[in-house]
Subunit: 508 residues, 2 copies
């Protein structure tokens, strides 16, 4: 450790608080802070960096986390004794904090696979999509047979065959919200641009019927889709043989796709955090926020999700909503979640815990901002249900649980062709057909799990790298990965177990 | 088709109705029926084979399906016009129909793996059990690495390494019924005697914590268990290396197990039906009932499940319960199911549908008997929750949804070392570590899917094979498969996708 490392971080130029990066004692001299530290402040806690009058907004991440309950002098510790939610911070406001992003200095592009429906893939996989758990093993057998036979190597533009296997699709109602959610999820995967073709495989007698999924229209605009059931085909061996033949035909079509320049309006990036730690909210998440804003400024789309982590702090998003109607959708989802957890015998509670408070988080707004910080400061252009197709550009929200594999599954079904995932404890996972970039929140975990982590954001603390610089580094990796550079989790072969549809309703 | 095939079947010697195996016209002469057929009777419908007085019980499968609503003559069609539930059939009775099974003529045994806790395995696998979806891919990588390295071939008594991967374990409450159910399921797999050893693998930050699963005692009596988390081990590559080393040590121990004679009291057979058809209730299910009774008479255990399929006909089981306390547990589960489906916005309804009635099913008792027939006529010795360890011998009930992979998962967690599965439409599936015997209900499907089906029960109709003979054939296959003979689904390699814990509660 060198002594010129920063002892505090300011997360946004507009902030009137800074965050201690180590335990600081009264009287310490903080560069950039005019006064000496007035009292002892533990690591992770806030220090006023400007005079704040009683009733003034306290700003972190450039956003309001509460109101000063009395006057606060620079160098003072800011926490529960002088900061509270107040009336203003709790008020439900719509579209009151819309801030345009600066126009980008240059045009950027990536190299992707242009699809018949106008979307662009970052990968070129063939998928074997299963309607029900009961066709899962056979889907894997087909993929194994293809691999064993070796002919896929001749189709050098095809990234591989991906079985999409799950635990549901039957033993469920055929006409409730759970069914509709699974239906959207499966259709969304079939249409994700990272697939060049889909073999849809059912057993035959399941609730989630293959003909219903295929529907009357074309399930894929390119027509590169086949479907069958094991029962109609005559059992496992015949289904494997026929599936391999069909994939051979589909691979010939898929192999004609080549990467070509595509504007960033064709990138749809699902943002996720999992295994958060005390650094998530000061390193990886705000750095990703910078990258998200850059992507949005360039015309791209970023998806924030994990509704349970913004509960009670939905004002953070309603204020950024481009219209009150968009903001109202957030509120509608929050009400839905209250009903969903109540009918399952639980309740929503996102308030700072005693442990959160000890770590320096004062209000529910501040806690939730740690997660919302991934979404930068761009206006919120639309709100989607889980697995609903994302059609608006810019910064959007898709409703989902916080549970990583389930949330990412919804984002990919919504059309995400790239995933970025911040983690403090070290999550290892991949989500075929979509590449996943891992951002480590701290240098210790990065050093220990460097085979799994794509970027270390811990150096914001350990080496004083700026959030702006880290955000640009993440943004540049977005473009390289979108253009074909493999992520760590792709190199390791992840993605065969992480398809986890949101299962709602009774298992019957 | 030869003309000497039976045109009707009597499912039990005590029955006062027989079932038409084809459409029969008035005046037809039915062997064994004294009167000529009095009216036209469609295939699948009932014909009185003895005079039945008004108010008398109508008996099918040796069990009451309702009361005659008026006098019925031999040769008359029995259906909604002369058969109803009546007061008696609906009455909740406990332990009123306990019938001892005849003692077996000979002692039988199988060749199994005797474990340290006194249980006996029918297979000798090593398992990689995952606490959470987030360790699923790495569990598979470890199994793939073992296979690639080839050293497992030296341990010829070991059947293989089985990754047990699922979609849950986090994004859930840590203290509700859903958590407890998953906890029991994972512990049950760790202790199933078909595993010679368990490597328990977590990510680290999940709700379902590895240390909680391991607990304070020994998770396995033989001590052949290792556990680790990916985060503590330092990422994917190191976890694979370490996991392979640990499995090598465990394989040396597992390889010392050899098959030795075991009494049938060590067989625990999970019974399942999936993709039922009009033949299920007259061929495979009652034939399995004969085999179940044989197994129970020999001291073995058979598990009936699929609570949603006995709903409204729970009297069938309460009357066979060895004590009123055991019967009351069935009723308690039924009440639980009513609450479970109601809070999920659905309802229980097992009444015969118009299609059922057209097919010849008159009352809810009769419809449910089609499923319950798998359990023969033995007394019901105990009732268990999903995945609860089965400790009583004889015919028992374990609560579960009807959904095949989920129900079987519970049975294996409860200790099943053999699964038998009747299917009409043709289900293809396997459930490592436990072999699964498939019984086809009809000859047409058997011919079409013979690679997947172990026994054809359709010949009861197409060749006049007796239920008794078919039951003995099934029973003999139980012993051969328990002793090591591979089932069709084992030969095909099934069992890698069908671990489906019962997910209850909100995904958070
Ligand atoms: Ca290739
Ligand atoms: Ca999280
Ligand atoms: Ca998450
Ligand atoms: Ca072997
Ligand atoms: Ca079933």
């Amino acid at each position: 450790m060198t002594t010129d490392l920063p002892s505090t971080i300011r997360l946004n130029p507009q902030d009137n608080v800074i965050i201690a990066l180590k335990d600081l004692v009264a009287g310490a001299v903080i560069p950039g802070l005019e006064a000496a530290l007035l009292e002892t402040v533990p690591r992770g806690h806030k220090i006023a960096c400007r005079p704040i009058v009683a009733g003034e907004r306290v700003i972190r991440y450039g956003q309001t986390i509460g109101l000063a309950s009395r006057a606060i002098a620079p160098g003072e510790h800011v926490h529960v004794h002088n900061l509270s939610m107040g009336g203003h911070a709790e008020a439900q406001e719509f579209s009151t904090e819309i801030r345009a992003l600066p126009a980008p200095a240059e045009n950027r592009h990536f190299m992707g696979y242009h699809r018949a429906d106008g979307k662009v893939g970052t990968r070129n996989y063939l998928g074997i999509l299963t309607s029900v758990n009961c066709s899962g093993s056979v889907a894997r057998f087909i993929a194994e047979a293809v691999e064993k036979q070796g002919w896929l190597d001749e189709f050098e533009n095809v990234d591989g065959v991906v079985p999409i296997v799950h635990g549901t699709g039957c033993g469920m109602s055929g006409r409730d919200e759970g069914y509709e959610t699974l239906f959207r999820t499966l259709q969304g995967y079939a249409r994700n641009p990272n697939f060049a073709g889909i073999l849809l495989l059912g057993l035959g007698c399941e609730v989630m019927q293959v003909p219903d999924l295929v529907g009357r229209g074309r399930m894929r605009a390119d027509g590169n889709i086949r479907y069958m059931t094991i029962q109609q085909t005559g059992g496992t061996r015949r289904t494997i043989e026929r599936g391999v033949e069909q994939l051979k035909e589909m691979a010939a079509v898929a192999n004609q796709a080549v990467r070509a320049p595509a504007g960033l309006e064709h990138l749809v990036i699902g943002m996720q955090c999992g295994g958060s730690d005390g650094y998530s909210g000061i390193t990886a998440n705000p750095a990703l926020g910078v990258a998200s804003d850059l992507m949005v400024a360039h015309g791209g789309t970023t998806i924030l999700s994990e509704t349970s982590e913004i509960y009670g702090a939905e004002h953070l998003l309603t204020r950024r909503a481009v219209t009150p109607e968009v903001g109202a959708k957030i509120v509608e989802r929050i009400r839905w979640w209250e009903d969903y957890t109540a009918r399952n015998g639980g309740e929503m509670d996102n308030n700072p815990s005693p442990g959160n408070k000890k770590g320096g988080l004062t209000t529910i707004l501040e806690k939730s901002l740690g997660a919302v910080a991934k979404g930068g400061s761009a206006p919120l252009t639309q709100v989607y249900k889980f697995a609903e197709p994302v059609t608006e550009r810019g910064f959007v929200f898709m409703d989902s649980p916080g549970y990583d594999p389930c949330s990412v599954t919804g984002q990919i079904a919504s059309g995400a062709n790239l995933i970025v995932f911040t983690t403090g404890r070290g999550s290892v996972s991949g989500y075929k057909p979509t590449p996943c970039i891992k951002l480590a929140t701290n240098s210790e975990m990065y050093a220990r799990m460097s085979d799994d982590m794509d970027i270390n954001c811990g150096d914001i603390v350990t080496e004083g790298v700026s959030l702006e610089a880290k955000g640009r580094e993440i943004f540049e990796l977005f473009l390289r990965v979108a253009s074909g550079e493999k992520t760590k989790s792709e190199e390791l072969g992840f993605g065969g177990a992480e398809f986890v549809p949101w299962q709602m309703g009774a298992v019957m």
